[in-house]
Amino acid sequence: MNDIIIYSVISLASIGVVAAIILYFVAQKFKVIEDPKIDLIEEVLPGANCGGCGFAGCRNFAEAVVKAGNLEGLRCPVGGNETMNKIAGILGLEVKESEPMVAVVRCSGSKENAPKKNNFDGITSCAFANNLYHGESGCPYGCLGLGDCVDACQFDAIYIDKKTGLPVVKEEKCVACGACVTACPRNIIELRYKGKKNRRVFVSCVNEEKGAVALKNCKTACIGCGKCVKACNFDAITLKNNLAYIDFEKCKLCRKCVEVCPTGAILDINFPPRKPKVIVDTDKKTVEKN
């Protein structure tokens, strides 16, 4: 009995010793010399490996930053200014502060505004449905509502509202990594400035069809009338292919465009509720959004 114990202890111990020696030499031979800064930077990064920076993961981003030697075009959208300042500190560089961003869904084609004309019966994938046809509402630009953006989000910051059938971004959770932007086959989601007090004004439509055609499928489509362009005092709105677009760098959040929009395609988010004040023109309706 004792023999068995002794033999097994001796053999196991010797295997351990031999393996340790081999491991030591292998580790010596294949040692990779890395800049210690990479590890330091990786530590300050959020570690979500979301790919929002354009690299496969946080480690790759750290390597790229160290290799590049400057911070031009390199930015961790998740960590934001705080993280970038830390990285700049490690590398002894300056960093430009930039405004925080948030993902914005530019479609108001809810079940009510854009009633469905077909039944879709297939896998819940926007990319698949996009290849198949124009979508249940008939709008070839609008949201398909099958949730590719939800699948893409690693931060649980977007969900499909069952009532409207449209995705909703949870502002407090969104880190503006841009995963949903690339996942959306119709380019509906855009990263915009979060804005002062989270207030934003944007055109919630990407339909480039002519006004009458677009209106057939959706009550709140942008019809390209150009009223908002005229109303804007800051040249922030451009009209292209029957579609208005508000440049978030120029927009001063005055909300004049919201007032004039005849279809309610322009949304203002997080503004205090307006007093039910004078509606300027009788046939224009202003959309009340809280």
Partner: protein, 443 residues
């Protein structure tokens, strides 16, 4: 009896309309002719709003290599050029013509007499086919003249004419072979001359015995044309499967039929080639089967391109109450239509109306790993694995497992006892991998 070896399924044939002879559909008052009706680069419009056009007049010109001409199917006045939904599910530019009478352009030979002598040379035939806008009528609409222009150093041994019609329900090719047999054989001879091949095989599935007998009888007068009867199996009408069944040659992955010395054309195309070369008639009408279990009078109709689908359905006894889905093409590979206003195009081989009860998919269940999809796949792929990889967005692995070889025949999904949407996932994955490959090539 010959057939392809690997995979395949056997759906219920449901060839309800196979005894109905081809009827000519009257021209509707308004037609919507899509400007591009083929696979490849879009053609360029050569008419404008307000123009008066005649039947057979060129309306859109081919300006790149893989592209085809397009002709007016009616005579009348162009009232509008705008976007309308077509079978692709998206709006595409169409010309809308208010029909006035039916005046054909003068160059078309309207006589009913069959012209047998082939006077043109090979190059002239190809030129003619190009001019007349002939595309493959099997469904893919690949421009025929491109197939006929063999690249330097390549030679075809066989011309294969596809009379398989393996899709359930559809009978348009079957009726063509019965009623236009002589023309199809002349068309085949023309194609043989254009390709400079001595052998042509017409493959027909065994469920169309009358067509096999009829063509075998007629083909005695034509040199080099052989009629081959094939065992009924889907997807025998697929190019690669048909070549395998008839010549036992396998088209390698990513290669074309020409790489194994074969050119495949549909019987409908052979007929269109006959009309184009012998009668100078551009491709502006085709046979469309209107069928379905609840359709009152299933029919095979000779239809002008651009005729809205509801006009066809009207003629087949009207839209049944319980229609849940309308399919352009057959039930295995056809496209579901979003509305009844979609116009008939060169690739529309049938309009299939499905009952509400048929049009809903069963609820998907767990994969029980039965391997039926693997056995059914005619390309030797593993659909269960590819579908799972596609769901997990693992595009690298997908490419390694040859997803690009998938011919989207639907055999896997057809046979799956768990009702899994295999082909949906495969299509999605194939699409993504295709994008990745294209991006890589650009670099």
């Amino acid at each position: 009896m010959r057939t392809f070896k690997k995979g395949g399924v056997h759906p219920n044939e449901n060839k309800i309309s196979q005894t109905k002879s081809i009827e000519i559909l009257p021209i509707p008052q308004k037609v919507y002719i899509p400007i591009t009706q083929h696979l490849g680069a879009p053609s360029t419009l050569v008419v404008k709003k307000g123009d008066s056009i005649k039947t057979g007049q060129l309306i859109a010109k081919s300006e790149s290599f893989i592209c085809a001409n397009n002709h007016s199917s009616v005579s009348g006045k162009i009232s509008k050029i705008d976007n309308f939904i077509d079978a692709s599910g998206y709006k595409k530019p169409c010309i809308v013509v208010d029909v006035e009478g039916d005046e054909w352009i003068d160059s078309i030979d309207k006589s009913l007499e069959i012209k047998k002598d082939i006077t043109l040379s090979s190059g002239e035939i190809i030129q003619k086919i190009k001019e007349m806008g002939i595309v493959g009528l099997g469904g893919a609409c690949f421009p025929t003249h491109v197939k006929l222009m063999l690249p330097e150093g390549k030679k075809a041994d066989y011309l294969i004419i596809n009379g398989v019609e393996c899709e359930p329900y559809l009978t348009s090719d079957h009726r063509m072979m019965l009623e236009k047999g002589e023309e199809i054989l002349i068309g085949t001879s023309i194609l043989m001359k254009a390709l400079n091949v001595d052998n042509a095989i017409i493959g027909i599935e065994n469920n169309k015995k009358d067509a096999i007998n009829h063509l075998t009888e007629l083909s005695k007068n034509y040199k080099g044309i052989k009629i081959e009867s094939l065992k009924v199996k889907y997807p025998q009408g697929g190019e690669k499967q048909l070549i395998k069944a008839l010549t036992n040659r396998e088209v390698p992955s990513g290669k074309l039929p020409l790489d194994v010395g074969c050119v495949v054309d549909n019987v409908g195309t052979a007929f269109a080639v006959y009309e184009a070369v012998q009668k100078n008639k551009p491709l502006f009408e085709r046979v469309v089967t209107v069928t379905g279990k609840s359709v009152k009078e299933p029919k095979n109709l000779m239809v002008r391109m651009g005729t809205p689908v509801n006009y066809l359905i009207e003629k087949a006894g009207g839209l049944p109450e319980d229609t849940g889905k309308i399919i352009s093409g057959g039930p295995m590979m056809g496209k579901a239509l979003t509305s009844l206003d979609v116009p008939v195009v060169k690739g529309t081989s049938g309009i299939l109306l499905m009952k509400k009860s048929e049009s809903k998919r069963n609820k998907e269940q767990n994969c029980i790993r039965c391997g039926k999809c693997v056995v059914a796949c005619p390309m030797g792929l593993e659909p269960y694995l590819l579908a799972a990889l596609s769901e997990h967005k693992n595009y690298e692995e997908l490419e390694k497992h040859h997803i690009m070889d998938c011919i989207e025949c639907g055999s896997c999904q057809f046979t799956c006892p768990s009702f899994r949407p295999l082909l949906d996932n495969l299509r999605l994955g194939k699409n993504k991998v295709g994008q990745i490959i294209r991006k890589r090539r650009k670099k």
